[in-house]
């Protein structure tokens, strides 16, 4: 939600513009420029990847025009409308910078040669002394498939290190593992227009209205045809506001609700027994496991009235094509994979996965969150969703890359584990691209200590981020529309990103930077790329025969048929918009069900920390806000974080609307404005996460991770709220459910340990 701006406010600004870090406004210039061409491309600001035209005049991006594309139909959210304003933003990084005399010296402008020579000479020295794995690559997903693919190859071939992972670890790893384990393929099974065909939509753990505004029109189309809407969320979000039933779940307890819904389906005889018998495995154990989840039990655990739950369960049970949409609310959890699996169990029991407009659909958050997680920049993964522990996968990729299989490194640390390796000195240097760890990782005091250990810390970015501020070398990269390439949106639709402008100053595309570094590391022979197209063609070959098979996708085909859905194994294959219509991707064609028991979050409220703190998004900002906080229109709407607290909770604390308050957790404290509203559970507080430095909610969040996929539990931790004139209490403890005994095992893994969760079974076909 935005700030409440009254139109009678005297200083309400109707004229917004670009906003630089020090908040000076710049006038609109030459507003009447006429474009000399329109570039058909896509927005960069979330997994939906809306089609848009960029208006270009004399090589400058000057505006945006609607583009009628199959999944957004010309619509754009506010981020999409103003996305073009980053291109010529005055804060863009235009030349390489380096601290010439160590940590305490300032970042100063240097030439590319000096910067890269410094980096590569340090890396050679580090690797000679401490081994290849002492240098790591921390990548990101908000960039083209070509760059994501090259990041994995750059680490494993260019630097010969095992440590490469990416920020999708913090985003999609729960649902990815759950879908891979249940269905054999990690992809949303449906295209977005299918949502219209559903007659009962369950939204669990995602504020669709603010995180995926464009999806709303498909939900409303379904509702116009009579579909019911059930929202499970601790806050009354804009999508919960008009839902038929809103279940204000206690954060972290969704499983109790989902299992109780499944129990109701069973007890009222609405399971699809033929489907279960023919197409699934593991049903009996699931049926038994959900039996204790009565509506009353769910009421006790999840904190919602049993009647409401029963009504929701009945709507779901009687629907002909119920569809479940789920997002980070359930996935940012120490049992995130189980949360997803519980939903999958429910959909499979009703026989819905594989039917048009029905089943389950994960909502991938990040720009290229789908493509970024299948082209091989994940710790245990090789391109095409291959697994690094499987001998034939290693053999194939080593062949494509032209290296002996033995030279291909093994599995490395997950993003959340890398930080600990940096702190302990095992990783001596890291290159970070497309990521802002200081804002995005939980408990960021620990992250800062880890990054300060590195020598050198190399960051590629196009704006100065809080992470880049800590770097020894900062290399200027490009924004999305300064390069060619492809991305894969949340439907699995591979689309084309086209160049609309040249990079500013000396900035270079991330892939050019990687190729240049690889060359200086003596590995240039493996990185002969002159265009992004050449990288894509290698990716096509590398993914061939894998689950995420891009081999049949060409740039021409993407243009001709408005995106191509993978898997697309041959050049004459049209792509696969709907998955699992006849069989699942496991060798026996069956989907896997697994009994899921309710588990508490890692940390729960105590007397000292009586609230549950949950974090989330606002519609105006994207990820760490490093881009959107610089665009005046977006910044104006949500210039600082706030804490949402229920009036019933605020009153005894003496907190009034708009007061500045202190929020404390066992890890830290921060001061921010209170928004006292009844749209959040009284036992829960909410803070948006897009802000940096002392405004970052990740000073407070719990770094506890899911045992398998190592996704952090951003969505619930124990917290206290107090007025500023109250002296901050020291000490105190929350209820800890993760103890020394059951804490997840961390890197290193034995070979095969992560395979079951992350690796889809090879399909028989």
């Amino acid at each position: 939600m935005s700030v409440n701006k009254d139109i009678f406010e005297p200083d309400r600004s109707f004229n917004y513009d670009l906003q630089t870090e020090n908040r000076t406004f710049i006038e609109w210039h030459e507003a009447d420029r006429v474009p000399d061409k329109l570039v058909d491309t896509h927005c960069a600001f979330c997994g939906v990847q809306c089609g848009m035209y960029l208006k270009v005049a004399d090589g400058h991006v000057i505006g945006v025009e609607p583009r009628d594309y199959p999944h957004n139909l010309g619509s754009l959210c506010p981020k999409g409308v103003v996305a073009y304003q980053q291109v010529e933003h005055p804060d863009r990084l235009r030349y390489p910078m380096m601290r010439r005399n160590g940590r305490s010296s300032p970042l100063e402008r240097v030439s590319w040669d000096e910067a890269l020579d410094h980096v590569t000479s340090r890396w050679r020295a580090i690797q000679a002394e401490h081994g290849n794995d002492a240098v790591a690559v921390y990548s990101g997903s908000s960039m083209t498939n070509e760059k994501c693919y090259l990041a994995g190859k750059f680490a494993r071939v260019g630097l010969r290190t095992r440590h490469v992972d990416y920020n999708g670890r913090l985003c999609m790893s729960s649902s990815a593992a759950a879908y891979a384990a249940a269905f054999g393929i990690d992809r949303a099974p449906l295209p977005m227009p299918d949502i219209e065909l559903s007659d009962c939509i369950v939204v669990d753990g995602t504020n669709v209205a603010e995180c995926f505004p464009i999806v709303m029109q498909w939900i409303w189309r379904a509702r116009d045809r009579g579909a019911r809407l059930i929202v499970i969320d601790p806050r009354e979000t804009p999508i919960a506001r008009t839902a038929d039933i809103w279940l204000a779940v206690r954060p972290g307890y969704d499983i109790a609700i989902v299992n109780a819904m499944l129990r109701h389906v069973i007890h009222t005889g609405r399971t699809d027994d033929a489907y279960i018998a023919e197409r699934t495995a593991g049903w009996d154990a699931v049926r038994e496991a959900v039996e204790p989840y009565t509506p009353e039990m769910a009421e006790r655990v999840a904190g919602i009235p049993a009647e409401r739950l029963l009504a929701a369960a009945e709507l779901y049970a009687r629907a002909k094509a119920p569809l479940i949409l789920h997002g980070k609310g359930i996935e940012h959890s120490t049992h995130g994979v189980d949360n997803c699996q519980a939903l999958i169990n429910l959909a499979l029991a009703r026989g819905m996965v594989g039917k048009p407009g029905a089943g389950t659909m994960m909502l991938t958050g990040q720009g290229n969150g789908q493509g970024g997680r299948e082209v091989g920049q994940k710790a245990a993964q090789l391109p095409g969703y291959r697994h690094i522990d499987v001998p034939e996968d290693r053999e194939y990729i080593a062949g494509v890359w032209g290296i002996p299989e033995a030279e291909l490194p093994g599995e490395g640390a997950a993003a959340t584990e890398m930080v600990h390796l940096m702190a302990s000195g095992e990783i001596k240097s890291c290159m970070i691209m497309c990521s802002n760890l200081m804002v995005s990782l939980p408990d960021n005091a620990v992250v800062q200590r880890a990054l300060e250990q590195l020598e050198p810390l190399v960051v590629i970015d196009f704006f100065m981020s809080q992470t880049a501020e800590l770097a020894d070398v900062v290399l200027p990269g490009t924004v999305w529309c300064e390069d060619e390439g492809t991305t894969t949106n949340l439907e699995g639709r591979v689309i084309r990103i086209k160049s609309a402008a040249a990079p500013p100053g000396e900035a270079r595309t991330d892939w050019e930077i990687m190729c240049a570094i690889a060359d200086r590391m003596g590995r240039g022979a493996f990185f002969p790329f002159r265009t992004a197209r050449e990288i894509f063609d290698e990716l096509r070959v590398a993914s061939k025969g894998g689950h995420a098979d891009y081999y049949g996708i060409t740039w021409e085909k993407i243009d001709a048929q408005q995106g191509v859905f993978w898997p697309c194994p041959t050049l004459d294959h049209p792509g696969t918009p709907r998955l699992f219509t006849e069989r699942f991707a496991h060798p026996d064609g069956r989907a896997r069900m697994r009994p899921i028991a309710h588990q508490p979050p890692a940390e729960e409220p105590s007397e000292d920390y009586p609230f549950r703190l949950t974090s989330g998004r606002v519609v105006y900002h994207y990820l760490s806000g490093n881009q959107t906080r610089r665009i005046g229109f977006l910044f104006e709407q949500a210039p600082e974080p706030w804490v949402e607290i229920h009036p019933r909770a605020a009153e005894p604390l003496g907190i009034h609307d708009q007061d500045r308050v202190r929020v404390r957790t066992p890890r830290g404290s921060m001061e921010l404005k209170a928004l006292v509203v009844p749209t959040v559970r009284p036992d829960t507080i909410f803070i948006p996460f897009h802000y940096s430095h002392e405004q970052s909610v990740n000073q407070l969040t719990n770094p506890a991770v899911e045992p398998g996929v190592k996704i952090p539990e951003y969505k619930v931790c124990a917290a206290a709220v107090e007025r500023l004139d109250v002296a901050p209490a020291t000490g105190g403890a929350a209820v800890e459910n993760l103890t020394a005994e059951n804490r997840p095992a961390m890197f290193p893994y034995t070979v095969g340990e992560t395979k079951a969760a992350a690796k889809p079974q090879r399909s028989a076909s």
């Binding site: 507003a31 619509s75 804009p238 105006y620």
Partner: protein, 206 residues
């Protein structure tokens, strides 16, 4: 000839202000938005509503009627235009006359400004920028017949102000009269125990 008109459905508005951002992209008033999104009452709800010119038809354009300089012109399609810069005398009569509070007065330019339904776009068969961008179709552009064919909700083009009714070219969309889910009936149908079907007077959250 522009046959479409705007349908404004506040129940679908998510307060994202894509319409405001999009309105600023219009070449005729680049950088300025002629549409406003406001919270109804953030202390109670997240509900929001967009406000834009309703293009009054009967009485026709109160803003134009009170204009002493005849600066506000109306197209044959009934679209009430922003003040003509060569005629506007900056008297602000229109600002006070508008029942919906739409016209804005630009002090520096000494000119009234308001939505003209993206005349440059709509005259070419395109949608206005705001409804084109709107991710939820809370702003929806088309004919009455198309609306009835595709959408639920009751389109209303008459707004009452005291004893004065104003009929507008644009429509507000109100919720259907009988679309609310009857939870109790549903519970009775599934044979929930009697005590469960009694209305519990407790909060929505436990």
């Amino acid at each position: 000839m522009i046959t479409g008109t705007m349908f404004i459905d506040p129940s679908r508005c998510i307060g994202c202000r894509a319409c405001e951002a999009a309105c600023r992209e219009c070449d005729t008033h680049k950088g300025e938005s002629m549409i406003m999104v406001d919270f109804i009452d953030r202390r109670e709800s997240v509900a929001t509503q967009p406000t834009l010119c309703m293009h009054c038809e009967d009485p026709v354009a109160p803003c134009a009627q009170v204009c002493p300089a005849q600066a506000i012109l109306i197209t044959p399609e009934g679209i009430v235009q922003q003040a003509d810069p060569s005629r506007c005398i900056a008297c602000r009569n229109c600002v006070y006359a508008c029942p919906f509070g739409v016209p804005k007065f630009d002090v520096e330019e000494r000119l009234m400004k308001k939505c003209n339904l993206c005349y440059d776009r709509t005259v070419q068969g395109l949608q206005p920028w705001c409804s084109q961008a709107c991710p939820t179709d809370a702003l929806w552009f088309g004919t009455f017949e198309q609306f009835k064919d595709k959408r639920t909700g009751r389109p209303i083009d008459v707004t009452g102000f005291g004893t004065q009714d104003v009929q507008t070219r644009n429509y507000f969309v109100l919720p259907e009269r009988v679309d609310k889910l009857d939870v109790l009936a549903l519970l009775r149908e599934v044979g929930a125990p009697a005590e469960a079907t009694a209305v519990r007077e407790e909060a929505w959250v436990l």
